[in-house]
Structures are given as C-alpha cells and as structure tokens.
Symmetry: C2
Subunit: 483 residues, 2 copies
C-alpha cells in the first residue's frame, strides 16, 4: 500500500493541546468533510451529510407534529427587498454575495444570494394574508444560505455556505407567537440532546447580540471543551417589525386591519461542528450512534487459518443485525485488521466487532466501544438486542459526559475580579444591569461577550449588583468567550 494511503488516517495534534489544529485534522482526515475549490466553502462527504440529514429528518418530524409546513422560496433576493427593513439590511449586507450578470447580460437590479429569507418570504406573505382566516401561517424551508465571512472560515463552524432550517410564521396575536417560541425551543433542545448528545443553556440574547430585525432573540448555547461557548439553534421574535416594513396586515374578526406578529428560527450544520468538538478524542471522531451512518463495523481476523469459517461467521453476524442496526462488514482483503481499527476509529464508528478464531470457537463476539474503548465478549444469542442497548448506552454516556462538563464549568460570580479570572474557562454567570455600555466594557477588557441570559437563572438577579458598574442588576448574564 502506498505510504500516502497509510498516512491519510493519522492525527498528530492533541485535542487538549491545540484544539483548533486537532479539529481541522480530525474532520478532514476522517473524511467527514473536505475543503472545496471555492475558498471558505466546504464539501459534506457521506458521513457528515448522513448526520445532517438524520438530524434534519428528526427535527422536521417534530416541526410537522407541531403544525409547521414546509415550503420553498427562491435562492435570490432583489436588492430593493433586502433593503426594506433597515436593521436587517445593515446586519446582512456586508456578507452578501451579489449576482450582477446572467449569461452575458448585466441584470437591471442586483440579486442577493439568500443570507436568510425574511425579505423574499414576507413579500409573498403580504400578498397571501388578507383576513384572520388566513392565519396562522407556519412555514419552514430547508435550504442552504450564503454569508461571505471575511474572518478565517472553518468547515462547519464558520462556512461561507451552510445548511439550515429557516422557520417563518405569522400570527394574529403576540400570545400565539410566544407560545410558538417555547414550542420550537423545546424541539431544538430535544433534538440537540437526543441526536447530537449536546446539552445547552437556553436564554435570551442581549439587545446587542440579537438578530438584525428582531425584537428579542433566544438561543441554546453549547459549551466547548476549551471553555468557549458556541451558539446553537436560535429563535427570534420579530414582533411587528417586518409586518410593518412589508405591510403584512389582516382584517381581524372585529373588522379592524392589524399587523401580524412574526417569528423566525433556525438550526444549522454548525451543530455538527459542536458535536465533533464535544465528543471527539485523540483517535478521531466519536459519533453519537443515532447520527452515525455506520453504527457497527464487523472486522474478521484471520491471520493464519480458518479464514473461510471466520468470514462465514462474520457474514452470519452481519445478516443477523443488519436490518436493525446500520452495520458494515469490512471484509476487504487488502487491509490488515490493525489498519481497519484505525480507520473506523478516526471515523468515529460507535462499535467495533472483532471476529477471530477465539470468537468462532466459543460462538461469541468481541465488542469494542468507541466512546470508552472498553472491550468485552458477548454471546451470539441475543446479539442485536445487546448491541442496541450498547448503542443507547453510548449515547447516554456521551450526553452525560458533556452535561457534567457543562455543569462543572458554570461559574456564578458577583465580583468583576472573579469574572476576569474565569473568563475563557466556561460560562461566567454574573449579575448585569442591562446596559450596553457595561456589556461593551466587559468585552473590551476581557474578550468575553454575553452569550445569553440563561432562563433558569434569572430569578437570582434580585438584590444583586451589576458585576461591572455596581448598579442594581436586572439580569443574570452568561459571560463567555465564543466561537
């Protein structure tokens, strides 16, 4: 085998020493994703696309149960539409990719490649909505968006194109809009926990950090192993901002014309980056079993003898489990078992089965867990059930580990000195007066932003003083350095 091929699955960086170099090596060398011919845009290879598609399907199922319908809107947005909501265009225009020509013709108006679809969708909403009978509208698109990041792009974490869901709704009342917010955030918490094995902290974003055009934004913030926060799925209450900019009015039951209340919300492929950072180790990816394209790999070992019998036994095992578990029999003759172990380890396959002479003789199977490295021998009888519970246990182990890490890296402080010492090590939870000036000063002096105002900690603000200015605190804020 050429040396080039032997090297391709090697990792030299250590996660604890240089997480960003480790991250790049692990996602590229494991063939999870790749760079492309377009700077800052990436390729989703089969394993990453499978993970995304599975997360997408799970989320989509819950959206549909909640009453959301899928639609699709154009990829391009005319410049004049993008400009209709002032804050919105200011937030997005620095990163917009512009179409100026089609074939050899220059267009009469520039078209933006969608950075987000509020403006193109609400133009339609304004034509579709006439009466209270047309409400609510709860639509969603699954699409790719382009934001031309000028900072150093990183696959999955900061790509110039990413995949996401984009939910857009219109309600007659604020109460209905707020009810939807909680419903959607519950769905996002559920899928991040049950599929990505990622815990997170739910809360409101500050005025400075909210979405351009929203009246309030909510997010789920993940904590990465280096103590930096990473923003997960989010939800924006737009109030009547866009409704006024796009003239989305309806005649209510009382005969009066009113503006609708709107929400938008999203989960993106960035979650896969958070998943890699959280669960991976120095051997490579560690995939949560539900998102693993291959959950169990079967490796026959027949150094000397009994090749046919061992292969037959391996095939029998594969036949036995393959309808219930996504499994792959690695009977490639041109690679050694050791080579195969490395390959499937860097690719993060949750379980490896080793089938050799000993297993054949005793009608047993040797099982190796990717998450803990633990090895045990199990019976052929009841194999699929044993493996299924093992896969569930791997998921729980990954989630508990991440949750323990999160819980042990939330630092409640009252004094600015303590905040400064702890910044960069996790979520520093401090009382805050709500002023943008204090928020700016802390950022300037420590590099920490307010990731969000954790919903479950707000009751603690009472009687506290702002960590920066000493005035009465209105909120408890999570200060963190962030991805």
């Amino acid at each position: 085998m050429p040396e080039e091929e032997q090297k391709k699955y090697m990792l030299t960086a250590k996660k604890a020493e240089n997480i960003s170099e480790w991250y790049t090596q692990v996602i590229i060398n494991s063939e999870f994703v790749d760079y492309s011919a377009v700077s800052g845009m990436m390729v989703y290879r089969p394993d990453s696309y499978f993970a995304w598609d599975t997360l997408k399907e799970a989320t989509d199922r819950l959206f549909k149960e909640a009453g959301v319908q899928n639609v699709y809107f154009p990829l391009f947005i005319p410049e004049r539409l993008l400009e209709k909501e002032k804050e919105h265009v200011e937030g997005f225009s620095p990163e917009v990719a512009w179409i100026t020509h089609a074939g050899k013709s220059e267009l009469s108006e520039r078209l933006a490649v969608r950075p987000t679809s509020e403006t193109i969708m609400y133009d339609s909403f304004s034509r579709w909505i006439r009466s209270w009978r047309d409400l609510p509208i709860r639509y969603n698109i699954w699409a790719s968006v382009v934001r031309w990041e000028f900072k150093h792009p990183t696959p999955l974490l900061r790509s110039r194109e990413f995949l996401w869901n984009e939910g857009h709704s219109a309600f007659a009342t604020l109460e209905e809009a707020e009810k939807e917010r909680d419903q959607i955030l519950d769905i996002y918490e559920k899928v991040t926990r049950e599929y990505l094995a990622l815990p997170g902290i739910r809360g409101r974003k500050t005025e400075k950090e909210k979405f351009s055009g929203a009246i309030a934004s909510y997010s789920i913030e993940h904590l990465m192993p280096d103590g930096y926060s990473l923003q997960g799925p989010d939800h924006h209450s737009d109030g009547q901002n866009f409704a006024k900019a796009f003239d989305i009015q309806f005649t209510d039951k009382d005969g009066i014309k009113k503006y609708v209340y709107q929400n938008t919300y999203a989960i993106s492929t960035r979650e896969l980056g958070a998943m890699v950072l959280t669960h991976g180790d120095d051997k490579g990816l560690v995939l949560p079993p539900k998102l693993a394209r291959i959950q169990v790999v079967i490796i026959p070992i027949y150094n000397n003898a009994k090749k046919d019998e061992i292969l037959d036994y391996s095939r029998l095992i594969h036949e036995r489990i393959k309808d219930k578990i996504r499994s792959y029999l690695d009977d490639r003759d041109e690679y050694t078992p050791g080579w195969k172990y490395n390959e499937w380890e860097i690719k993060g396959v949750p379980i490896r089965l080793e089938i050799g002479k000993r297993e054949l003789g005793s009608r047993k199977v040797t099982v190796v867990r990717r998450d803990t490295g633990m090895k045990e021998t199990i019976n052929f009888d009841g194999l699929e059930t044993t493996l299924q519970s093992l896969l569930e246990d791997i998921h729980s182990t990954l989630y508990s580990r991440a949750l323990d890490f999160l819980n042990s890296h939330i630092f409640p402080v009252d004094r600015y000195e303590d905040l400064k010492k702890l910044v960069g090590k996790g979520f520093v939870q401090a009382p805050w007066c709500g002023s943008g000036d204090c928020e700016d000063k802390v950022k300037e002096e420590t590099g920490a932003k307010i990731s969000n105002l954790p919903s479950d900690a707000q009751h603690k603000a009472k009687g506290k003083k702002c960590v920066y200015c000493g005035r009465d605190a209105l909120h408890i804020a999570n200060f963190a350095k962030s991805y």
Copy 2:
C-alpha cells in the same frame, strides 16, 4: 366574505381549448405554487413542496438501496473550473448567474451559481480517487440549480431555479457504469409510475440533444395532453470525458493508471409540471394520492339542524382514519359546503367525504372521487380500508388513463408526408438514418425534434429507410414537438 376571496379559486380557461392559460390558472389559483419577487423564479407552497418532498424521499430510498450515498457540494463554482470541459461550458455558460461581489468587495474570480455540479464535484473526485480501492464512487446531491432561461419562464416547467437530484458516479470499468445506467433508469421509471402516475418512453437521446459533455444521454419522455412531449428524468454516460478534463485517474489492480468512467443523472421538479398537465381537469388539479398532502377531506353539512351531532360524527370519522390516511376535517364555520367543495376540488384532493343528516342517520359516509367525480355511499365499518383501496384505485385510474392516452398517440410512420401530418399530435415514430442533417431538416420543416430513440422500438429499424433522406435507417426515432 369579500368578493376577492370568493374569486380566488375560480378557473375561467378550459384545458382542451387553451392548455397554457389553463395551466397557469390552475397552478396559481389552487395555491400549488406562486410567482415571486424574482422574475422567473417561483415559490413552492405547501402542496407542491409536499409532492416534491415525497417524490424525493421515495427516490432517495431506492437510490440508497442501490448503493448510492448522499453528499453536498458548494453552491458556487469558480469560472476556471466550469471552463475545464469544453462542450460542457459551451452548453451552460449562456444561462449562468454570476457572482461578482461579496459585501462591498469585488471577487478576484467570478463564481457561477451551480447550473449543474460536474465541475465542482469532479475537482474533488480527482483528489479523492487514487487506487482501485477507492472505487466505485456513487454520490448524489439533492439541491437547487439556477439556469437563467431567457425564454418565457413558466413555473415548474421552465423556472430559473429548480430542485433536483444530481447523481454522480465514478467506476473502474465501462461495464459497471452501464449497469448503473439501467439500474437508475429503472428507479426513475418506477417512481414516475408509482408516485406521479406518469408513463413514459425510455430511450437514447440523439447526438444533438444529448447533455453537454456526455457521450450518450438517456431519457424518459412523457406525452402531454396537447400531444407535445416533455422530457422527464435523464441519465448521462460521460465515458471518460470529464475524467480526462479533471484528471481523475486510479491505479488499477494491475498497477496501471487508468481514467474512471462516469455517469450523471437527474429527476427534477419539472415532473410536477408534467403531473399537473397530465391529470388536471377544468375543475383544477387532480393529485395522485401518494403525492397529495391531504388525501381525504371531510366536510360536515349542517344547514339546518343536528350541527353538533354531525360535527361529532365527522370528528369520529377523522379520528378513525387519520393515522392511516392524510386527512383534514374542514369544520370552518365561515365557509359554506359548496365553497369548500370548490376549494378542495381546485386543490386536487383525491377524496371528499360529505357528512350530513342522512349519513349521520344511516351510519354511512358519502364519498366523492376527484378523478372521476363518482359519488357513492359506504359503511362506517371498515371505512379506513375502503378509503385506502379507493386511493389505490384512483392512482391506477390516473395511470391507466395516461397510459392509454400515450399508447393511442404513438404513430408509427414510414413516409415523410405522414410524419408532417401527425407532428404535434403525439410521438411520430419513424425510421431515421442517424444523420444530424436529416434531424435538422425535419425540425426546420415541421418544428419537431427527436425526443429520443425509444429502446423498445429499435428492432423495427431493420430494413427500413430514413423518413427524410431514404437511406438505410439505423434507428427508430420519436419525432415530437416538445415543451
């Protein structure tokens, strides 16, 4: 109710008299799709997106069973890559949408919005493929593509953006590539038949009509009610054309470096346009049941009395069927039953249940089929089973009707006079010498192109003379005017 609302579901055009005006009215007024703020780009509203998504899922399942894996590649393609294969760039560049700016910066190289992804994908293939061990590669993406049509755009049929699958594979041998071609065309025939209820004619495209960059293209051609053909899904054998342009070589088992053989294939949202044209009638859409977001609509009728009992009975019916059949209880109080009939008829819902006093009293249900208009009364007992077989029967009826139409509009001719008389009325099946000159002349003189060379008729060419020049025929060609 405002007059505007009353009018929105009306059709004035007749399918038999003015099919293009009828088509526009039916797809827009039924709220299947809509125009957007971008000229030539359309909005997929819930019913059309559901139909596409269901077709996509069915196709995807069959692709996966066949061994194809999903991936995702960037939306943009650098100009220099697009230019690597000469015929390919000539075919696509007149319709390319070009990105020239990002934010306020001018890009150093123009980027094309993907019109098709050969070039960006094969650039990666050339880096991924080293040895016979890396083959075959059978990848697919589900994505949207942009082709800036300058002809009159029509929603679904000729849109500047459309949704499709794009399959791309690389094999060590031509035989494997050809085997895949048949496998994929079988899948396309199956999903068009079983989901869209559309028959078609499978065959090879001529040199002039093949895909830019391919050595041979195959298509499934549908026949529309106006006698025009519409190209359905297609498959292209690229041979080693792109492999040479992109230097995709592998070291074979014999140690020799060889170019791979490649295929590409696609099915698009154009199929939904063919579905509407084929099955719709003067009352609106007629949706094949598998692609209908709502398969059964339940309409309670309580003009005078027994409102509560009728509503309760309607709810009972809905509860009874809703887990097995996508059903909707239309209990909106603000619309009359007659209004509701019109609305669900134009929207093409396959079955309507009418529930009034008589049905309540006799514990029966009145069923109206959208495809035939037939009305019958069935028992509440066994309701879900009866409805399921009715839905199956509706599908078969739609398919048989379309198949009968197709079969009765294939006209085998030997003489040019007969071809000229029949052109525009269906597929005129005539012997052809294979020369591009004859093909051009026929097109010039009659307006008919060769839609394809039907696979099941090629044996009839033997001993025949070309319909145009009288030389020996090599093929039987389907001449038709086309969408």
